[in-house]
């Protein structure tokens, strides 16, 4: 039934206690359209029964103080960012009705990408877009929606098509996206227009209540101060200047096609969380004690070759196994563009003591998988250290006389096993068996941790054993 009394809606605070000075009136200029739109919103919030659930976002602009007035949840946000904030507010509180109230500078200029993306994601929020064709708050500068020829503080000679371009049509722009559900433009421009704006705003809120997705109403709204016209002339001004460019009406409405969607979250038990994070404690592993030979303890190892030779995963195999064997370990890759086809290297430390620097200038061990790596890093190996290289691929011999050198035909051996790309694992097998740094069983059992492609685990185990066997022949 129609109300018998039209009065200040309950969506408003009785008294605007957050406002300094006079708690009874708004801060808006006489005749400002923001006031009308506030009334329509407050009335809709009351009538739709959503006051407890509603969170209204105050933007930057003349409506920065929206939170003075609405007896709802309130949050004030940075210039243009309301759609991003609204996105998270709604996702965190799916039950809330989130309203993003924004001006044209806020929404269409500085926040242009934020509204576009939120609309395209189909965020379940309602946007009230107040288009007054100007920056009201900062003193009447050009807005993306200012009209051609319009004189503003920053277009003193009028908006120029060739300088500022034409005024931006936001609902049309958003209507070209598949994401939004309901888009309409209306105006606060006299009795019949206001009734349509009122309806549009309710439709937009209902769209969110029904779980149908993104809704926005663009409302052409008077800024008598910015336009420098009397309030009573402002509607004629709008009709003459704005209506020819900004057509009123629904530009998109797919509410009927959209299935209602309400986001829900499950609460997991601690055990489930641990399980889902892959942190469940594995079966204890029992490794034979290691047979470390003197001189090979606490190594820092550099593995180097081409990207794609499995350098990084060979390092990860060693480090994973080291950890399981009770050693302190670290692994650090060279990262970035080098990974894309260039040289790749990584450092692995295996130590009985806490590891300080995870990289060293002079590694104890170098595993070189290609010639450039051998040539580049051989001089760095610590005197008395160990150099292993893939003698299938590297056609030169190392020169150093003060280090131990192992030529391993790793690629040939891998080829013989049927997969050239397992030279890395063979090298690791040789290293482990030769130095006794850990038991080959440790590395075999932890292989699945380092090898992402599960179907390759068995083949790698074979390669590992081939390396261990090779070491026995040395």
């Amino acid at each position: 039934m129609a109300k018998l009394i039209l009065e200040k809606p309950k969506g408003f605070c009785d008294s605007y206690e957050r406002k300094p000075g006079d708690h009874g009136t708004t801060h808006y200029c006489p005749g400002c359209g923001h006031g009308n739109i506030h009334k329509l919103l407050a009335e809709a919030v009351e009538d739709l029964g959503i006051q407890d659930r509603t969170i209204i976002i105050s933007p930057v602009g003349c409506s920065v103080f929206v939170y003075y007035y609405f007896a709802t949840g309130n949050i004030q946000v940075a210039h243009g960012r309301a759609p991003a904030v609204a996105t998270a507010l709604k996702r965190a509180n799916p039950h809330a009705i989130v309203v993003s109230y924004q001006g044209d500078g806020d929404l269409a200029a500085i926040g242009g990408n934020n509204i576009l993306q939120a609309a395209n994601r189909g965020e379940h929020i309602t946007v009230i877009f107040v288009n007054n064709a100007i920056y009201g708050m900062t003193g009447g500068q050009l807005a993306p929606t200012s009209l051609l020829g319009m004189k503003t503080a920053t277009t003193p000679y009028g908006r120029d098509l060739l300088n500022e371009g034409p005024p931006m049509k936001v609902v049309e722009l958003l209507s070209s996206l598949d994401g939004p559900t309901y888009l309409e433009r209306q105006a606060i421009m006299g009795n019949k227009y206001i009734a349509r704006a009122r309806k549009a705003l309710r439709n937009a809120l209902q769209c969110q209540i029904d779980g149908k997705g993104f809704s926005m109403v663009e409302i052409l709204s008077a800024c008598p101060s910015g336009w420098k016209v009397d309030p009573t002339d402002s509607y004629a001004w709008m009709e003459k200047n704005m209506l020819p460019h900004f057509q009123l009406g629904v530009t998109k409405d797919v509410r009927a096609e959209r299935e209602p969607f309400f986001r829900t979250f499950k609460t997991l038990s601690a055990a489930e969380i641990v399980e889902q994070l892959d942190l469940a404690v594995p079966e204890p592993k029992h490794f034979p004690s290691k047979l470390q030979k003197t001189g090979y303890g606490d190594p820092s190892i550099k593995l180097a070759g081409f990207g794609g030779q499995g350098i990084l995963s060979a390092g990860a195999m060693l480090a994973n196994a080291g950890m399981e064997q009770g050693l302190q370990t670290s692994w650090i890759p060279s990262y970035g563009p080098e990974m894309r086809g260039g040289t790749a290297y990584c450092f692995v430390n295996l130590s009985e003591r806490p590891i300080g620097s995870p990289t060293v200038s002079h590694p104890d061990v170098l595993m070189a998988f290609n010639r450039p790596s051998l040539e580049k890093f051989e001089p760095d190996v610590k005197p008395g250290g160990l150099l292993m290289y893939d003698s299938t691929i590297i056609d030169v011999k190392p020169k150093r006389g003060d280090i131990e050198i192992l030529a391993v035909p790793a690629t040939q051996m891998a080829d013989d096993l049927g997969n050239t790309r397992m030279a890395n694992t063979i090298m690791v097998g040789v290293y482990v068996a030769h130095t006794g740094i850990m038991s080959p069983a440790a590395i075999e059992q932890t292989l699945p941790l380092a090898i992402k492609r599960k179907n390759l685990v068995d083949a790698n185990k074979k390669a590992l054993r081939a390396g261990v066997d090779f070491a026995a022949t040395l």
Partner: protein
């Protein structure tokens, strides 16, 4: 004291009114006008001339100031207070 209205009444709160004149412009019956006197903020507030209101509510929606205008339609309970 209150009474049930036999005719609609529009009440303008002079202290909330900013004298923009939009209600005057909106009223189809032309029964609203700006006063020649000032309110405490220095505006000429609107007022209801006393008869002819149909309770259409146009002025209510035309008014940007939430607490400035109250429209009591025919049949509404009207708080009869001096000075409203």
């Amino acid at each position: 004291m209150s009474r049930i209205l036999e005719e609609a009444i529009t009440v303008v709160s002079a202290e909330h009114c900013k004298g923009c004149g939009l209600c005057v412009q909106a009223c189809p019956q032309a029964v609203l006008a700006l006063m020649s006197s000032f309110n405490s903020k220095g505006y000429h507030p609107a007022h209801y001339v006393g008869e002819g209101c149909t309770g259409c509510g146009m002025c209510f929606y035309a008014c940007p100031e939430p607490a400035a205008i109250t429209v009591y339609k025919k049949g509404a309970e009207y708080p009869d207070q001096e000075g409203r």
